[in-house]
């Protein structure tokens, strides 16, 4: 399969805690992106990390990329109930412009 695998499939934490989601893939990438999907809605782009980058930050989000292990992680710090959503990693490979999505992590943040 060319899909990425995300881990865990589901994660339940309390508000204020940090959430870490991992994404593994099999082929070399140009870049890797993380998206959020609220229930019944479209996907929203969160952050893009290029293959020559190791870490990127955006607000409470921190993404790391380890190309030797073919893995990436998304850390959400000080989580809020509004962070409850599914999170997907998506890889761009070769010259194709398509996104190849992982299986997603369902994050539940409770008060």
């Amino acid at each position: 399969s060319q899909q990425g695998e995300e881990d865990p499939q589901a994660l339940s934490i309390q508000e204020g805690e940090n959430a870490t989601m991992n994404c593994s893939y099999k082929t070399s990438i140009n870049n890797l992106q993380w998206y959020r999907q609220n229930s019944g809605r479209g996907l929203v782009h969160l952050i893009l990390i290029r293959s020559n980058e190791r870490e990127k930050h955006s607000g409470r989000l921190r993404v790391t990329l380890d190309t030797s292990k073919k893995s990436s992680s998304l850390l959400i710090t000080a989580s809020r109930a509004a962070d409850t959503a599914s999170y997907f990693c998506a890889r761009v490979t070769g010259t194709a412009s398509k996104l190849t999505f992982g299986t997603g992590t369902r994050l539940q943040v409770t008060l």
């Binding site: 998206y35 479209g42 996907l43 782009h45 893009l48 412009s97």
Partner: protein
């Protein structure tokens, strides 16, 4: 002000019917996509167009025919609908082929009965 809009949001239809889903983006992007999300939330690309030209056709049955009248629109026509076509279909756009950050529409939930 919706950046990528698709209609309808919900579509319930009988097997064998033909239906269309429309998508429009007002972002000035060159590249548009159709993705299918199944009941397990798995997202897979179906088509991409760049400046009205088909770039990716990802082994989709030929009952599915995309049409791009101009670079701001990418419609999806489905012939002879089958039960297995039930899914959420997402339209998306990006600046261009080399800029892959995608903006997604709200999705069209298609239910074939």
């Amino acid at each position: 002000d919706t950046a990528v809009s698709q209609t309808p949001k919900y579509l319930v239809t009988q097997m064998g019917n033909d239906k269309s889903i429309k998508c429009e983006q007002n972002l000035g992007h060159d590249t548009m996509y159709w993705y299918k999300q199944d009941s397990k939330k798995f997202l897979k690309i179906m088509f991409s167009y760049n400046n009205k030209e088909l770039i990716i056709n990802e082994t989709v049955p030929n009952r599915f025919s995309p049409k791009s009248p101009d670079k701001a629109h990418l419609n999806l026509h489905i012939n002879s609908l089958e039960l297995g076509d039930s899914a959420v279909y997402f339209c998306a756009s990006s600046l261009g082929l080399k800029n892959t950050e995608a903006f997604f529409g709200q999705g069209t939930r298609l239910t074939v009965v």
